[in-house]
Structures are given as C-alpha cells and as structure tokens.
Amino acid sequence: MSSSSQAIGTGIPLLQIRDLQVQFRGANGLTTAVERLSMDIDPGQTLVLLGESGSGKSVTALSIMGLLPPAAVINNGSILFNGLELTKQSNAQLRNIRGSRIGIVFQEPMTSLNPVMTVGKQIIEAIPRKQNGLSSSQVRQRGVELLAQMGIPEPARRFHEFPHQLSGGMKQRVMIAIALAGEPDLLIADEPTTALDVTTQAQILELLKQLQQERNMALLLVTHDFGIAAQMADKVAVMRHGEIVEAATSKQFFSAPQHPYSKKLFAALPNMSKRGQRLGDESLTKHPNPEPANQHTRDSQQPILAVTGLQVLFQRHGSLFKPKEYIYAVDGVSFNLQQGETLAIVGESGCGKSTLVKSLLQLIRANNGSVKFRDQELTQLTARQLRPKRRHLQIVFQDPYSSLNPRMLVRDIIQEGMVAQNIGGNASQRAAIVESLLADVGLEPEALERYPHEFSGGQRQRIGIARALAVEPELLLLDEPTSALDLSVQAQILDLLATLQQQRDLTYIFVSHDLSVVEYFADRVAVMYLGRIIELGPATEIMTHPAHPYTQALLSAVPTLDTSDAKKLSPALPGEPPSPGNRPTGCHFHPRCQRATDRCRSEFPEVTQVSPLHAVNCHHPLDSGRPD
C-alpha cells in the first residue's frame, strides 16, 4: 500500500515516514500500537489519517512530534522531516522543531488551554521571538494579528480574556493560532473538531483550509469522520490495528475504496439511501422490512405520548441585590408520538435536547405543560404515583462508561429495574428473563457474572439497552446512543435497535446531533434551537427540503462524501449559538439568520404547516420546504 502513496508525492516530500513501529511497554510485555507505517506528505498537501479508535492514528501523530508517553518506544523506522531524522533528535533539538516547524492542535479545546493564563499570553508564549528579534510590543501586535487571522471578532479585546470567557469554537481557533504562531511547515490536527458542534466544525474546517492555502502549509489531519476526510483530504490513509491498510488520493478512495476494511466502513456509514437496510454484517441479523409494518395504521391510533407546551426552567440563584434569573432550557415544546415510530430530536449542544428527555421521564419536573403517556398525565403525579408508570418509559444513555455502575455485576445491573418494578416473579424466573434479554442484545450468557469494565464500549451499550428493556418499556428514549461509538460499532448498535423495535413494537425518541444517523434511522425529526422545537416533520422531507433557515444551515454544515471541487463547504452559519440564559427576543434564531426581518426580532413565529405533516416556526420559511 505504501508504494501507491509514494507514487502520489511529487518532488521531495516534506514528511517521509518509513516502516515506523511504535510499541508500548505494559504489564504484559510489549504491545504494538503502530506497525510498518509508511507515508509521505508534500508541502501544502493535506493527508487525512482515517480510522476507528485504537487504530494508532494519534500515536502516529504524537510520534512525529516526539510527544509519545514515556511507556512508548519507537523500535523501528524513520521519520524524515525536511531531510531531518526526527527519531534521532534529542529532546532539546525537537523542542526547536515543535511549534516553529511543526504545529499541533488537539481534540479537546477545553483542556488544551491553561485556564489561569490569558489567551494572549498563551499565544505570545508560542511566538519565537529570539529568532525574529521582535520587541515585546511587536510580539503582542503579532498575537493580535494571529487572532484576527483566525476569524476571531474583536481580537484586541479577546487577547486579554481568559479561556473560560470563550466558547468552544473560539478556543479551538485560539489553539490553532498558537499552533500557527511559529509559522510551521506542517500542522498536525488530531481530531480538531470532534468536540465541537456541526456548525462550528464547518467554521473551523473552513478556517483550516483557508490558512493552509494562504501559507502553503502541509496538513496532517487525524479523524474518524468520513465526511471531514472527503472535504479536506488530498490523500487519505486508512488505519487499522496500527497499520495503514489503504492509502490513496481522496478521489480514488471515495469513488472506489479497495481494501475490504474500507469497504466495510463505507457500508457502515448511515445515510438516507440506506434507510431500512442493515448497516453491519447482514449474516448476523435478519433483514428488517424496508417499511415498518405499522406505518399505515399510525394516524388512526391514539398517540402513545402527547406533549403539549412543555416548559422547563432552571433557576439561577438570585441574591439580595439580584433578582432571580430563569434559564429556558425547554420552552413550549409540543409533539405527538405514535406507537412504533421513531422521532429524532436534533440540535446543537445546549439546545435542551437532554433536558427535554429528562423532563419526559419526569426526572426533571416540568414547570409548565403536560406530558401524557397513553392518556395518563405524568407531570401531575407524585413520586409515589409515578413509580409504577416508570417502567413504560426507559432511557439509553450516550456514554457507555458512566451509564453502568462499575461496582455491580452485569446480572445485577440488568435485574435492578425488574426488582424495583416487580417484574418477572421470583428470582429464578427473573434470571431466565435476564438471560434471554442478553441473547436478544447479542451478548454471551457468561457476561452476566462480569463487571462492566471488562467490556468494550459497544458491549456496554448493549448492556445498557438490555437494562432498559428489562422492564418491558413501550417507549425508549435514546440519548445519543451511538455518538460515543466507532463507526462499525455504531452500525451494529443501530441494527440492533432496529431489530428490537420491530420485535417489540417499541417507540423511540432518538436524540442526536449526528444528522446522517438521523436521516438513516428516524421516521420524523424535530429540530431544536434554544429550548424550542422550530421544525417538525417527516425525516425524508426535512432532510431534503428543510423549511427553517436553521435546519438548512445545520444540514449544509454536515460534511458530505462528495469530493468534487464544486461541492465546497457551504458558507457556514455565522457566530455561535447564544446561551439559553440570554435568549434573543422574538425568533431566537434571528441574529444568525440572513432572512431575518423586524418582525423576527419582535415576535416568536407561530407554527406554520408547510405540508400536512411538516410544521415550522418561521416567519419566512424557505420555499424548498414545500415539496412540489
């Protein structure tokens, strides 16, 4: 495979890695993290390292920087940077290369910045002043310039602010500014947008592209996201188990992947065209019907869940001198849900998705509005009255690591709810149910006597699903059930959820920020912005013909697999989502909306029916929202 990547590079590569092997010393001897890795990056080129977690992407990036943890050893191979052998350099020599020749941006902007130093000081630190002989005022000038180049408004003011005063996207921009302060020839970006929202991600990716063109800088981008790879890459290298299994130009790779593993990953990518199909290995589970069997009977039925005017306020503690403030986490949310249906709730972080889920479960009590489950009003029940009802609504969490008590056996975890809800009669009957449940979610019976930490993320998520199903719920709230998982594991879990829904006639509320999963999985979509549902309708319709400008912006910010030059990253939504504690008047979206008028600034739009099933809260809905 490495021969093909050599063929692509013309002239002298900026970075040339040959037969790199990195191993970790551990209790059980050496474990290999990276093996036989060879790749080239030319000046000004973008190479995307694509792979699932644990495939050795980050280790590769760190070994170029000489930042490997002490337990790691480079046993073999060479890393040539501009003809300089990096593996042979001393730490002091490497320090001169880091920052000034090679810059790096990490995934987590929240922890990459020092919280007690101003942004400016941290940038100045990275500016090599000795070489350039700059005075301190010049250095400051340079820092402000850098911030301006990163597209940060009011750079002179931001320069003196602390990291906590900036949003996540801003912080990542600052991180890039720091990485670029030394004007490096190569920028390594290790999952730079994974912690960010999709609209912010689009902004950052655009920024990276633009900076790269301006400076003719090479970019090594580490990611797990195929869309990002397609948008950014000149060359793609797919990693698996520490090895590069396929290396090709972006066009070749995305039009015709060669390696079986790459093909498997492509098959696991959810999108609209695969609706109703299996994503994972088809031999494992049986094929579901393309259309859910109960689709046609839906409208005639009573809704399983009816939510009207739901409002959840958080109180910000007032004091003697300050009046109490309210944060509108969820405001005026209404929707109906039919049996067997999947409703997706999408929106950026902080839009109130998780609060909505918790208030539906009555874990957070709503301040206003009603939640009716099969004609039973839940919001008015006392905790005692609510207890027997709880079995009907269950939840599956995002983080498979914090959702299982590490001190409990899997058997006890799954049984816990059954015992509390008095399901399954005596202990032996319960044990039988637990075992069959475990089989249903695709785990071996031996798993029962083990602790959660002995399982992988995907297996833990299966345990979490089994726990929720143990009390035989009718409505399952899935709070980002796959966003912490790898692509191939996500495919398995989505397949499992589809099978279970069919077998048990389950109704799903599927919370997600990943629009490609939503368009694959959901029947209907509700788009949330600052605590309100602004658009609600059938998934196929919303995904193709959004009526709300925000929905449209969200959709266009998702990187697609289209590598043709015509499909550039569309102009991203400007700015950041405002905080729910300080909502704009009128339509909350108006400050970021190009179509906003005076009316949008003063009054919140009522529901407009774009089509019989498609509703939108917008004074000026997009025409595309009305299908022909």
Binding site: F397, D399, G417
Partner: protein, 468 residues
C-alpha cells in the same frame, strides 16, 4: 495463673465489639467469590502481607490488653470472703509481669547494667557518687568487662533457639510446597496467572518476628531491652502497653466519625437543596472553631465533671478510660468534616452520572440508590481516608497529650511518652530511648496501615483493576 474477677472497662467492650463486627463482616464477605478474590489480590502483594501480619500483631496485643480483671488478693483474714484488688489488671499486664516488676530507681540506657546517672552511695569510707549497678540489669555479670560478651552470647542464643525452632517447620513446608508446585517437571514456571498469596513473605516476616522475640526474651531476662524511664519503669513495657491506647484512639474515633461523615456527606451531595445547606452550615461553623481549642474545652469540662461527680464511684483506671472515650468522642465529632466534604463533592459528581439517572428512571427509592450506587463507589475514598485518619489520629494523640488535653497522664500512651521526652532530650547526655521507642512503635503501626491500605485500594477500586 492468678484467679480473679472480670472487670471489663467500657473501652474493652467497644474494642471487642468493633473487632467482632469487622471479623463477621469480613467472613460474610468472603463467601462472595469476588470479594475473596480481591482479598487474595491484597495478600498477593508481599509488602501488604508483611504489613497485614504486623497490624494483626498490634491488634492482638491491643486485644489481650483489653481483657481486664481484678486479681484475687491472697487474704490473710480467714473469714472466707474473697477479696479482689481495687484496680483492674489486663491479661497483657499479667504476661508482662516480669517487666513490670523489674523496677529500677530511675533512668537506665537500653541493655545497660549500670544506672544512667550517678547516685550517692554511703560506704564505710564516706559518701561517694557512683554509677550504681541496676537491680534488674546485668545481675548475672560478675565482671563489668563481660558485658559485651554476655550481650552477644544472649543474642546468639536467641538466634540459635529460633533457628532450632524454625528450621524444621521451614523444611517441612518447603518440601510440601515443592511437591505441590512441581510434581514432576522442574521446567514449568511457577503459576503466573492464578494469584498466589505471598506465603513466602508471610513466612519470612513471621520468622523474623520470632527471631526478634527470642532474642528479646533472651536479652530481656536480665536486661532492660529499651532502658528504663525516669521512675525506673521498663520502656519496652510502656511501648507495648501504649499499643492499646493508639489502636483505641484510631478505631473508636473512626467509629464515631464514619457514620456522621457518610450520612451527612452523601445525603448533602445527593439530595442537595435544604439538606445540603444545613450540612454545609454545620461543617463550616464547626471548622471555623479551632479544633484544638474545642477539644481542650470539651476535655477539660468533662474532666471537671468526672472529678466532681464520679471520683467516689470509679477506680482510677475507669476514670482514665472514660477520659479516653470522651477524647475519642470529641475527636470524632470534630474529625468528620474533612471526609464529609470529600464525600459530598463526590456524591455531587456521582448523582449526575447516568447509572444513577437510570436507577431513578426505574423508580428506585432514594435510599436504595444511596446504598447501591453511591456508597460502593465512595468506598475507596472512605478506605483511604480511614487509613490516613487512623495514622493521623495516632499522631494527634501525641500532640494533644503534649498540650495536656490528651489521654490521662496515668495512662500509657505514645503521646505521654513523647511528652515526657521533652525534658529528657534537654538533658546532657540526652535520654533518647523513650522517644525512640514511642517513635518506632508508632512508625511501625502507621506505616503498616498505610502500606496495607494501598494494596486494599488497588484491589478494590475497579477503575484501577481495569487498567491492570
């Protein structure tokens, strides 16, 4: 053995109760195979094994010292009434009788045969100041120059005796082990995957302790192994008797502190709101009062009460015992704050975790969530704090005794020994052995506790186990 009447002190009951509860809890826990495996993991580690044995010996001494009785006095009246001594004696006192009876006039250095300071002796030729021979040190010595030889002979004899005792046992066990591990082939490595308990370390530790014991008895039969104090008491005896005080202060204080900290910390963190406000108010108020001042005020007022009301009814030892109990009580009432804060903070974090949300979504009552989801996940914090506090309390006793609000001055404790050493160290040449003895005894206890707890934490914290 002298017969007598059992006269348990309050603290005796408490320490036995704590020990029994702990033992039963452990035994019940051992039925669970997971628990058993974890304890095996603890004892797999050589340092933990050695620390465990030392801790057990300390506990054993403390327990033996906690069986008090009033010995029968051989009555000279022939009335037939049995008469018991007015003060309580423990089984340990009885065992250490030779040490307590070997009373000197004043200081003597470890293993000395002469007094530490000169004494006025009147002879026929007038008064002379000489280093007098000890009454119970080196009595067998005929010539002074034989001193070193005598010490060496006794040491050798002690080592020899212990070797004589240990070698057959060691050979027997070694033979059996070899038979078990290598039935036929020598090539197979000792089983690496199944954790084997560090028996070797245990054997070595016990062997060394036996040797130490044998040498000590050989030397101690005619010498003061660790010298004598100002009033001529054997310092080794003082050190051994102080073990009970140290263990009591540590264990009973924790007994009072733990429930307070656990209940307040977890409920404050989990429920929040008014309960949290109340608990926070309580501990900020308490912690803003200087701890030593609070302890001093409480101890002094209780002493006053004891003197005024109960001095007729109780013996001196009972009085000292009550004073010790009040001290542990007050230490417990002031000491829960640190742990409570930690537990509150951790509970605040845990209650937001998804598995707690899942439990709430199942409609599980709050107290069950507290017991099942919070407490087990707090146990490593509790465990670590217990050990740190235990060590800290043993050390705090010394400080408080120094200030004069610690245990009763008549009670043997390392604190009192160190307090006494204040003046001893100012002498020229200095009397160092009281301080050294207290230090060694305390150091061994605290270090063993810390090492043992390290291993326990590593074995019981699932996050650490996952990384192994």
């Amino acid at each position: 053995m002298m017969s007598g009447q059992f006269a348990f002190l309050v603290s005796d009951y408490l320490i036995w109760a704590v020990t029994l509860i702990a033992a039963i809890w452990l035994l019940v826990g051992m039925r669970n195979s997971q628990q058993r495996q974890r304890w095996q993991m603890v004892l797999k580690r050589p340092t933990a094994m050695a620390a465990f044995i030392l801790l057990m010996i300390y506990l054993l001494i403390a327990l033996i010292d906690s069986i008090h009785y009033r010995p029968l006095i051989t009555n000279h009246t022939n009335s037939g009434d049995l008469q018991y001594a007015a003060s309580e004696v423990s089984v340990l006192d009885q065992l250490l009788m030779p040490l307590s009876q070997a009373q000197e006039r004043s200081y003597s250095a470890p293993l000395a045969f002469k007094a530490f300071s000169k004494q006025q002796i009147s002879t026929s030729s007038g008064a002379k100041r000489v280093y007098a021979r000890l009454e119970h040190g080196g009595t067998g010595l005929e010539h002074e120059q034989d001193h070193l030889t005598d010490l060496l002979t006794r040491t050798g004899k002690g080592i020899g005796l212990s070797l004589l005792m240990l070698t057959p046992i060691a050979l027997l066990f070694g033979y059996q082990r070899r038979k078990q591990i290598h039935p036929n082939d020598q090539s197979s490595e000792p089983s690496t995957q199944s954790p084997s308990i560090a028996w070797k370390t245990a054997a070595i530790t016990l062997g060394m302790l036996t040797t130490l014991f044998m040498v000590a008895t050989q030397l101690g039969s005619d010498y003061h192994l660790l010298g004598t104090d100002k009033v001529g008491q054997d310092v080794l005896l003082l050190g051994l008797k102080s073990i009970r005080t140290g263990i009591l202060i540590g264990a009973l204080t924790l007994l009072i502190m733990l429930p307070l900290a656990l209940i307040m910390g977890t409920t404050a963190g989990y429920f929040g709101g008014r309960i949290d406000d109340l608990v926070q108010y309580l501990y900020t108020t308490l912690s803003s009062i200087p701890g030593v001042l609070l302890i001093a005020a409480a101890v002094l007022s209780i002493n006053l009460y004891l003197d005024q009301n109960l001095s007729e009814v109780i013996t001196l030892q009972q009085r000292a015992d009550l004073r010790l109990l009040t001290l542990t009580g007050i230490l417990g009432l002031t000491g829960w704050i640190g742990l409570c804060r930690l537990l509150r903070a951790e509970s605040l974090k845990l209650r937001e975790l998804d598995y707690v949300t899942a439990a709430r979504a199942f409609g599980i009552p709050d107290w069950q969530i507290l017991m099942r989801h919070l407490l087990p996940n707090l146990s490593h914090i509790v465990l670590i704090t217990i050990v740190l506090e235990f060590s800290g309390l043993v050390l705090a006793e010394a400080v408080l005794s120094y200030v004069g609000v610690g245990v009763d001055p008549s009670m043997n404790s390392w604190g009192n020994m160190i307090n006494g050493a204040r003046l001893e160290l100012a002498r020229e040449p200095a009397v160092w052995w009281s301080l050294a003895t207290a230090f060694v005894f305390m150091f061994t206890l605290v270090l063993s506790a810390n090492l043992f707890a390290d291993a326990v934490r590593d074995a019981f914290d699932p996050r650490l186990r996952g990384s192994q």
